[in-house]
C-alpha cells in the first residue's frame, strides 16, 4: 500500500492549492491532485487572463482618448493575437508560480483525474491511462465548476463560444451577442466593445447584472449603452441558426420575436459544479441543486471529506474558494476556524466601468427587514476622479438606521474594485458610521468618495 497523507486535495485551483499550503503550514502531510492546470480556472482561464485582456483594452482606449489629456496620438489599433499572447504568458507565469509555492511548502503534486474509491482512498488516472491509489486521513474536493451549456448554444470552436474560447479568439468578432450578463458576460462585452466589435447583451431577467444593486446596475446599463452596446432585457434565446456567413439568433423579448444577425455568440449563463466522475455516488456524498452539501467547516456528510469552492454552493468566486480552503485545512488539523459569512464576501466586476460590491443591496436590506439609511457620492464630486478623467460613477453605502451597522456598499466607476476592500475591512471589524466618519481618508484619492458616501447617509456630505 502506498504512503498515507494527512490531507489530500483534489484540484489545484485557488481553493485547492491554498488549502494544501495552509494544511502544510499547520504540519499536516499534504498532497494535491490536478488533472490539467495549476491555479485552476481562475488563473488559467478566468480571473487573471481576463484582467490581462481588459488591461490591453484600457490601454487602447487611453490612446483613443489621448486628446482629452492633451496628448496627440494616432494610429493605435488592437492587435488581438498579441493581446491574447500577453494574457496567456501571464497565466503561464502564475501557473508556474503556484507549482513553485506547492514545492516550497513540500506539497507533492500528482497529475491526473481523481476519483474517490473509499473514505480514505483516491484513484488517480493520468493521461496515459495509468492509475495509482493514494490514501489520506482527510480528503478535500476542490474540483471547481465549468461553464453552463444551454442546448442550442454548445461551444463549437468557432462562432459559438464559452469564456474559454472567448479568451483566445483569433479575430475580433464583427458582432458579438453575449447571452447572460453576470460578471463574465459584461467583462467580455466590455473587452470586445473596446476593440470595436458591435455588442449585444441578452439578459433573461429584467435587468443586466441581476446580482448587483438595482441602482448600480441601471447606471452600468446606461454607461454600456453610451459606449454603444445594445441591451435586451427579459429576453430569451429561442434558437440559433448557423451558416458560414454568420449566426441568426432568435430572441424572444416580452412575447416579441426578433432575429439578431451576429458573427459570434458568447454563452455566459453561469457555471455548473464539477461533481461527475469523482466517486461521489459510491460514497453517498450528499449534493444539493448540483453542488456538494457542506457544513460551516466545509465538511461533507462524510466528516473526513471536505468540499470547498465552486463545487459547493456559491458565490462562485476565487477568493471564497481560497477562504474555504483555509477553513477546511484549519478544521482538519483540529483547529476552530471562524465561519465564512457570505454577506461579507466582496464581489468585483472588471467591466468598463468597474463594479464592486459587498453585503446587502438596497432591495435585499429592505427585504431582510432593515430600516435603512443610504449614502451616495458621485465621481463627479471627487477631485482625483476629475484629474484622472473618470467623472463617471458612484459610491453607495447602506446603513442599518437602528444600529449604524454598514449593511452593504456598492460602487461603480474607475478602480472601484481596488476600493471595495476598505469597506470589507470595515464590515469585518463591525464598525459603525461613527468610526467611518472619524477615519481620515487621504486627499486626493478616490477613497475620499467612500468617506463622503458615509457622510451623505447621515446628511453630512461636504462636497455635494
Amino acid at each position: 500500500m502506498s504512503e498515507e497523507f494527512d490531507y489530500l486535495v483534489i484540484g489545484a485551483g485557488p481553493g485547492g492549492y491554498v488549502s494544501a499550503i495552509r494544511a502544510a503550514q499547520l504540519g499536516l502531510k499534504a498532497a494535491i491532485i490536478e488533472r490539467e492546470h495549476f491555479g485552476g480556472i481562475c488563473l488559467n482561464w478566468g480571473c487573471i487572463p481576463t484582467k490581462a485582456l481588459l488591461r490591453s483594452a484600457e490601454v487602447l482606449e487611453f490612446h483613443h482618448h489621448a486628446a482629452n489629456y492633451g496628448v496627440k496620438s494616432s494610429g493605435a489599433t488592437a492587435d488581438l493575437p498579441a493581446m491574447v499572447k500577453r494574457s496567456r504568458d501571464i497565466a503561464k507565469q502564475l501557473n508556474q508560480g503556484v507549482q513553485h509555492l506547492l514545492k516550497k511548502n513540500k506539497v507533492p503534486s500528482f497529475m491526473g483525474a481523481a476519483k474517490l474509491v473509499s473514505k480514505h482512498e483516491v484513484q488517480v488516472t493520468d493521461k496515459a491511462g495509468k492509475t495509482q491509489h493514494l490514501r489520506a486521513k482527510n480528503i478535500v474536493i476542490a474540483t471547481g465548476a465549468r461553464a453552463r451549456i444551454l442546448p442550442g448554444m454548445e461551444p463549437d470552436g468557432g462562432q459559438i463560444m464559452s469564456y474559454r474560447e472567448a479568451m483566445v479568439a483569433e479575430k475580433i468578432p464583427s458582432h458579438l451577442v453575449v447571452v447572460g450578463t453576470g460578471a463574465i458576460g459584461v467583462e467580455f462585452a466590455s473587452f470586445y466593445r473596446a476593440l470595436g466589435a458591435e455588442v449585444t447583451l441578452v439578459e433573461m431577467l429584467d435587468r443586466i447584472l441581476p446580482a448587483e444593486d438595482a441602482e448600480i446596475a441601471a447606471m452600468a446599463a446606461k454607461s454600456f449603452e453610451k459606449r454603444g452596446m445594445n441591451i435586451r432585457n427579459k429576453a430569451k434565446v429561442s434558437g440559433v441558426k448557423k451558416s458560414p456567413q454568420g449566426l441568426e439568433i432568435m430572441i424572444e423579448t416580452k412575447g416579441k420575436q426578433e432575429i439578431i444577425k451576429a458573427s459570434h455568440l458568447l454563452s455566459a449563463v453561469g457555471v455548473v459544479a464539477n461533481i461527475e466522475d469523482i466517486g461521489l455516488e459510491a460514497l453517498s456524498i450528499a449534493t444539493e441543486t448540483g453542488c456538494i452539501k457542506v457544513n460551516a467547516q466545509c465538511q461533507t456528510n462524510i466528516p473526513n471529506i471536505y468540499a470547498i469552492g465552486d463545487v459547493t454552493k456559491g458565490p462562485w468566486l476565487a477568493h471564497k474558494a481560497s477562504h474555504e480552503g483555509v477553513i477546511a485545512a484549519e478544521h482538519a488539523s483540529g483547529g476552530h476556524p471562524h465561519e465564512l459569512e457570505k454577506l461579507r464576501i466582496p464581489g468585483c466586476t472588471y467591466a468598463n466601468p468597474q463594479i464592486a460590491s459587498i453585503g446587502h443591496h438596497e432591495e435585499s436590506a429592505k427585504a431582510a427587514g432593515y430600516e435603512i439609511r443610504v449614502g451616495r457620492f458621485p465621481f463627479m464630486g471627487n477631485g482625483k476622479a476629475l484629474a484622472l478623467g473618470e467623472a463617471e460613477g458612484m459610491v453607495k453605502t447602506i446603513f442599518d438606521k437602528k444600529t449604524g451597522e454598514l449593511l452593504g456598499a456598492h460602487m461603480i466607476g474607475a478602480e472601484v474594485t481596488e476600493l471595495i476592500q476598505g469597506f470589507a475591512v470595515a464590515i469585518g471589524l463591525e464598525t459603525t458610521e461613527e468610526e467611518l466618519m472619524n477615519i481620515v481618508f487621504p486627499h486626493p484619492t478616490l477613497s475620499e468618495m467612500m468617506h463622503e458616501s458615509v457622510l451623505s447617509a447621515y446628511g453630512r456630505a461636504i462636497h455635494i
Partner: protein, 290 residues
Amino acid sequence: MANPERVKASPLARRIAKTNGLDLSQINGSGPNGRIIKRDVEQAKAPPQQKPTAAIQHGAQTTTQPEIMPLDGMRKTIAARLTEAKQTVPHFYLTIDCRLDDLLTARKNMNAHLDGVKISVNDFIIKAMALALRDVPDANAQWGGDHILKLKQSDVAVAVAIEGGLFTPVIRAAESKGLKEISAEMKALAGLARDRKLTPDQYEGGSTSISNLGMFGVKNFQAVINPPQATILAVGGGEERLIPINGQAVVANMMTVTLSCDHRVVDGALGAQLLHAFKHYIETPVALAL
C-alpha cells in the same frame, strides 16, 4: 476618572449593547481573542433555542506519534483556576453517609404526579444543599482576602461534564425554588453548557458546588474547591448496603458524600454542621417541601 478594565468589543457590538442596556462585561466574546462581536450581543439579547451539539471534531491523527493538543479557552481556565485552588486554598474533607430510601420513595411519588419533567436525585441534592446553607449561614460565605463575604442566598453551582471539559452553571437562590423549578432550570443550563452557550452570569460566583460522579459508579471522592466558593460537595453513587439498625442487618439505599472546605472560611465544626444539615434534608425529604 477610573480606568476600567478594557472590554474587547466591536464598535457595532458596543452600540447594540448600549441601546439595549446590556453590560458588555457580562457577555462572552466569540471573535478573535474573545472580542465581543454583534453575534454575541444579539445572542445575549435573546438567548437562543437549544441547538443540537455541534459536529464533533474530525482532526487528522497520526498513528503512533504523540499528538500535541492545543489548549482551548476552557482548558486554560480549568488549568489556571484549579491549580490556584489546590495550591492556595487550604482544603480539608468531611465524609458522611446518607440513607436514600425515603428520598427515593418521595421522588417516585412526585414523578408519578408529573408529566414531562422528571425530578432527579441530583435535583434533591441541589435543594438539600441550598437549604443546608440557609440553615447554617456562616458556611454560606466566600474568602475575600482581607475579609469574609457572607452570602444571603444559596447559589448552588453544579458541575456539568461536556466534550473536552466541564462547566459549573449556577442555580441562583436555590433555597427558594421548588424541585420542579430546579429540575427545569438545571436541564436548560446543562443544555447551554453542552452547547458552550453559557453567559458569565450563568456560571460566575456561587456559594458552593456539587460534583456528582455517582452515575459512573464512583463510591466516594474528594473534589477541588471552585474559588471563590468555600465548599464543594462530592457525591458518590447510591447503592444498597447492609447497615446495622438496632442490632439487625438491614438492607438500605446509601450514598456517601464528601464536603471539601476552605479552612479560611469554614472550620471543621462549621463544615460538620453544614454536612449534618444536608444529611437531614436528604434523609427527611418531606422537610424539603417545608
